[in-house]
């Protein structure tokens, strides 16, 4: 019995959400009195994961893992779980994680819970809190099978550090070209941008910003703060911004520490994607905008005037 964590990386580096997942896995392993093992696929181990709580780590570096195929990744994790007798598998709920987890659930004949937002309760059975109804509710999900798989929402568990070094375990990897059942033709990554799901600070703009010509105000504030940018659905529908920035019930769900919404009314479908943010600030000309009810701080005013003043103040402080 052990806890296995998929240590996901991007372009050869572990993601921040990976450190969260390992910290989560370690806490759970301590609670269950067992070992915490990390498995890294396609990353040579740029950092020792003992610093985040892993007791042991398995590194698979076969070049077949260079491109992402859900099947081959799931197979690698499954074979590791079986060889090392792991019964709980922890995965970050990224696009990659979400493609792998259900395949693993079938391979392991496991119970699976996605959208996990808190530590498992293992006193009486095994129960986790998950988001439901697009963040409008929290469900307590009990996992009944012996084997369990959890996908953890990024930014929902804090990273803990340990002064420990993990032991590297060598396992035979049986991956073969025939395990790859789809082919990646080309990959396009937006470089130099903070991925929205991992961002701790997010500046978001809505229809109230009037048009693309004003988005420099959002971007300047974001760059001063080191934040990612997001937008409401109509803004991406009108192609003012790429759809990858659309947050809400039919867009991306985010849980940053800070969400600043400028010119967004706060429709229920928008709130569904952002209400998990720790601190919410709203800038809107309309004092009756529903978003103010869901906010911690509000400024009733014209975003086109307020945003540059916020940027200037940040630059003054950071100087």
């Amino acid at each position: 019995m052990a806890v296995l964590i998929f240590a996901e990386s991007d372009s050869g580096f572990y993601k921040k959400s990976t450190f969260e997942a390992i910290s989560y896995g370690r806490k759970l392993a301590d609670q269950l009195g067992t070992t915490c093992i990390a498995i890294s696929i396609g990353n040579k181990g740029t950092e020792n994961l003992g610093s985040f709580g892993a007791h042991q780590e398995v590194l698979y570096v076969n070049e077949l893992y260079q491109t992402f195929n859900p099947q081959s990744y799931a197979k690698a994790i499954s074979q590791t779980a079986q060889q090392l007798d792991c019964n709980v598998i922890i995965i970050s709920q990224t696009y990659t994680g979400k493609s792998i987890a259900p395949l693993l659930a079938i391979k392991q004949n496991a119970s699976i819970a996605t959208g996990v937002i808190g530590m498992a309760n293992t006193i009486d059975g095994f129960t986790v809190k998950t988001t439901a109804f697009s963040n409008k509710a929290i469900a307590h999900v009990k996992l009944n099978q012996e084997q369990k798989i959890l996908t953890i929402i990024p930014n929902s568990y804090q990273i803990n550090t340990y002064s420990e070094t993990s032991e590297i375990i060598n396992l035979e990897d049986t991956i073969a070209a025939s395990d790859i059942n789809s082919t990646v033709l080309s990959t396009h990554k937006e470089t130099g941008k903070i991925p929205l799901t991992e961002a701790e600070l997010v500046i978001s703009g809505g229809r109230g910003l009037k048009g693309t010509e004003n988005w420099n105000l959002v971007e300047e504030l974001a760059s001063a703060l080191g934040a990612a940018t997001a937008c409401s659905k109509p803004v991406s529908d009108m192609e003012w911004r790429p759809h990858s920035e659309h947050v809400g019930q039919t867009g991306i769900t985010i849980k940053p520490n800070l969400y600043i919404a400028a010119g967004i009314s706060g429709a229920i479908q928008h709130l569904a994607g952002v209400s998990g943010s720790k601190v919410i600030c709203v800038i809107n000309t309309d004092p009756e905008a529903p978003f103010f009810k869901a906010a911690d701080y509000g400024i009733v005013g014209d975003a086109l005037e307020v945003l540059p003043r916020l940027t200037r103040r940040i630059l003054e402080i950071k100087k």
Binding site: S99, L103, I112, F133, I138, H140, K193, S275, L310
Partner: protein
Amino acid sequence: MKILVCISVVPDTTTKITFKDNDTTFDKSSVQYILNPYDELSLTRALEIAEQNAGTVHTITVGESDCDPIIRKALAIGAHEAYRVDAQPKNAPFVAHQIASHVKSENYDLILTGRESIDYNGGMVQGLLAELLQWPLINVATEINYSDQEITACRDIDGGRENVKSSIPCVVSAQKDLCEPRIPNMRGIMMARSKPLNVIKAIDLPEFTEITKYELPPSKTGVKLISAENAEELIDILHNEEKLF
């Protein structure tokens, strides 16, 4: 070309979520149900692909008879035939096993699902199904094309997108931007009445997971307003009190 589209029936996006029986059950009374928005996209794209390839489109829904009006809507949009597995969709593995069992009795070339259902947001059915059938999975696709026994698609990845191809049969899930969803017209609505809606019996499965309780997320205690003239004060608070940067 025979395509199966998985259709889920979900509460309207404006639904106020409440619970009953000591917060153990979702209160369905006065909830308006809709066709899951992502499934409207996959259905539309399935119809487009079928039209170009002289194909047929079936839909499948795991749900009780109250889903029938939504299933009829899918038929009105253009699906040729519908299946309903007569059971409450308890959780994603339950749904995926039911669908897989139907697929094994038919010869589909392609299964399309939505990226997720907007009620439980699991996003799991497509992956569970792909693995149960041992078919390739292309998840969260903004483009899906078919030619020469091959699917090419563009999928969202963390921080970007990727073009991928797969042989058929395979499972692909639909993301926003895939297409403009079709809406039923009068003729479609008339024709839907006589299209087959086959009800099939659910297979027995173990209880993989159960929801023991619901709660509402903590709500904000009240907004602190800062006047626009002193907008900079917001930054000072975020810096000094909230210590966010």
